[in-house]
Amino acid sequence: MRALGLAISTFAALALSVMPASAATLDEVKERGHLQCGVDGGIPGFSAPDDEGNMAGIDADYCYALAAAIFGDSSKVKFTNLTAKERFTALTSGEIDVLSRNTTDTLTRDATLGVNFTYYNYIDGQGFLVKKDLGVTSATQLSGAKVCVQAGTTTELNLADYFRVNDMEFEPVVYDTSVQTREGFDGGACDVLTSDKSQLAAIRTELADPEGAVILPETISKEPLGPAVRQGDDQWHDIVRWTLFALINAEELGVNSENVDQMREESTNPSVRRLLGVEGTMGENLGLSNDWAYNAIKQVGNYGEIYERNVEPLGLEREGSVNALWTEGGILYAPPIR
């Protein structure tokens, strides 16, 4: 019996003392050989498997770009599909290195959940999707409706606020995943589906009868979506943040995946030269190689290309929207790389 006790305690001690402590995410990622990226996995345009089963979408592309910036190889990334519930735990527990899952930056999340937000790769707002035959033209006519919504999201809270402010009644039907929410709406479990407008556009294309549903004009919330990291590793936070800035700056500077080689050779613009690692030690300052941004742009494309590839097919025009560059009337504004 004593031998048994000894065995148990040895085993327990072993189990509890795996690996020495190391807070540096970058080192861990490099040692592991790939980036672990948390995505939704079920939202076309943001992150969903394409026909070959590879993750595609604006959120997924950001992860490819980050992998390219770290390893010089955009394929060194693995995706973890997460529900809204699991996402923050997965991040803080170290299961994933970066959360790129259309996650809204809010004060409560930033302050109490042990995560840090970086910047935005899509600025969204919440809206309503209804079946046409109900004859609804405005969200203010929705009193008494059943509303399908995904659990654990800011969407759920905005919904409650909006109906309360407008003194209307509603009955929520709260599903666990975005796919279930869509199926519920499509099957007729509710009259209205509410979510971020970009998602509504994607969901609409996936309905049995896309023509039979419309997105109402109202936008009831601010939803800045972007990658998040766990607290306590500033270097990693910087890398994640500046990789996104690099993609946006590249677009602003007219650098894209096609002309990036040429620009690196020929451009005389100091901003471009710094971005592509010809001048200065920008990448090294971050703890990466100097051609970090070059690799990301070369292999994945600049922000504009990513948007065009993933979001435009959903029917969400960029021109004139908040997601345009600040130079074109939008609000995407990346700090300078210098």
């Binding site: 519930k85 008494g144 659990a151 654990g152 759920e156 009955e171 929520p172 099957g187 479990a189």
Partner: protein, 394 residues
């Protein structure tokens, strides 16, 4: 000097027992302590705040289904949400237990029916429902059957303009007692009627004791009840009014509403658990010795009478304990509601509330506590029942 003293103390079973227990206890305490310190360290490191403070904060989201506890968006605190979760768990469990018991008994008895077809049907039913996952059944009924097959609210299936069934749920008229003498009279009539049932039953028993002939006491009682209620309706104008569901802009409003998630969950829990209860019933009936059946048959009892008076009363002793466990299982299984968006404890509290507050530790602990309490309660009832039955059995 006794022999006992010559055994070295480390080989003495008493001391060894104590040593082993202390070691194991220390290990367990050490493991719990490690978990505790790790958790505290992790919470601090990750900047996660924890505590019970959030319970008194106002819940910022809407709760769709809460028939008995008032929920007001923007005013109701989190601890009431917790109570609503418990309430909804109880609602679906009680409805499920009632229906599953009835269905289970019917199927269990049918399985032993001398009618070949009937017993085959019953056993096919039992095997299919017992051998596929409950979660699959819940989703199947909700997403593959009820949602696509039931019509929308505008084209509801109606029974007599009062009961509606559509893909949003089942809507029943809601009886409302009007504030009048009639309402009190009705209440009195019902109480008297129920009393009459008991009284007649006693009378019938006494009669049987004296004459050997048992008059249908329950029937008389029931008749009295009906007549009394009828009289009240005849004498007083509208002692009771019904709130009939009405079609609003989007949905039916008013009446008793059974939302589709509840309906699907209840249906799946009932059909699934009934299969297990049917097996208990069959086992119980089989456990009654064949001599009892033969004795009853030689008394000239027909099969239904035989089952009712001889077999089932004896079988109950075997049927009840595992069936109570099934009730507990049904209650625990109601936590699968998350698949169909019914707001019971796990979905509403350990799901929605947990997400919105991030208070995983407190919320999951509270959830587990509820189920543990139920479980302890159930085993308490079981032990009490077993003790009681044992005395009877000798």
């Amino acid at each position: 000097m006794s022999r006992n003293n010559r055994i070295p103390f480390y080989r003495n079973p008493v001391y060894r027992g104590i040593a082993v227990q202390i070691t194991v206890l220390a290990l367990v305490l050490w493991a719990l302590y490690t978990i505790f310190t790790n958790t505290v360290a992790n919470l601090n490191e990750r900047g996660i705040q924890t505590g019970f403070g959030f319970l008194t904060e106002t819940a910022p989201f809407a709760v769709g289904f809460s028939p008995f506890i008032d929920y007001k968006l923007g005013e109701t605190p989190y601890w009431v949400v917790f109570l609503i979760g418990i309430q909804n768990t109880i609602i679906v469990s009680v409805l499920g237990i009632l229906a599953a018991t009835i269905l289970g008994f019917i199927v269990g008895v049918a399985r032993l029916s001398p009618n070949f077809l009937l017993s085959r049907f019953a056993s096919v039913y039992v095997e299919i429902f017992r051998n596929t996952p409950l979660l699959l059944q819940i989703m199947f009924w909700n997403f593959a059957v009820f949602l696509p097959l039931f019509p929308g609210p505008r084209e509801s299936i109606t029974v007599g303009e009062e009961i509606f069934l559509n893909n949003r749920g089942l809507y029943l008229p809601k009886p409302i007692l009007t504030e009048s003498v009639g309402a009190w009279a009705l209440l009195a009539a019902v109480v008297m009627g129920i009393f009459a049932i008991f009284a007649f039953n006693r009378w019938a028993k006494a009669k049987q004791y004296h004459t050997g002939y048992r008059p249908p006491g329950r029937l008389y009682g029931l008749l009295t009840l009906v007549v009394l209620v009828f009289l009240v309706f005849l004498i007083f104008p509208a002692p009771l009014s019904f709130e009939i569901p009405e079609l609003g802009r989007f949905n039916l409003t008013g009446g008793i509403q059974v939302p589709l998630p509840l309906f699907s969950l209840w249906f799946a829990l009932t059909t699934y658990t009934a299969a297990f209860i049917a097996e208990n019933v069959r086992g119980g009936i089989n456990s009654v010795s064949k001599g009892q059946t033969e004795a009853a048959a030689s008394l000239g009892l027909k099969r239904p009478t035989m089952l009712r008076l001889v077999i089932i009363p004896q079988a109950m002793r075997v049927i009840i304990p595992p069936t109570i466990s099934q009730y507990l299982n049904l209650t625990k299984n109601s936590s699968l509601a998350v698949a169909v968006a019914y707001e019971e404890l796990v979905n509403l509290w350990a799901g929605i509330a947990l997400n919105q507050t991030g208070q995983a530790l407190v919320i999951i602990a509270m959830t587990i506590l509820v189920y543990e309490t139920l479980s302890l309660l159930t085993s308490g009832i079981l032990n009490w029942y077993n003790r009681r039955v044992q005395v009877v059995e000798r």
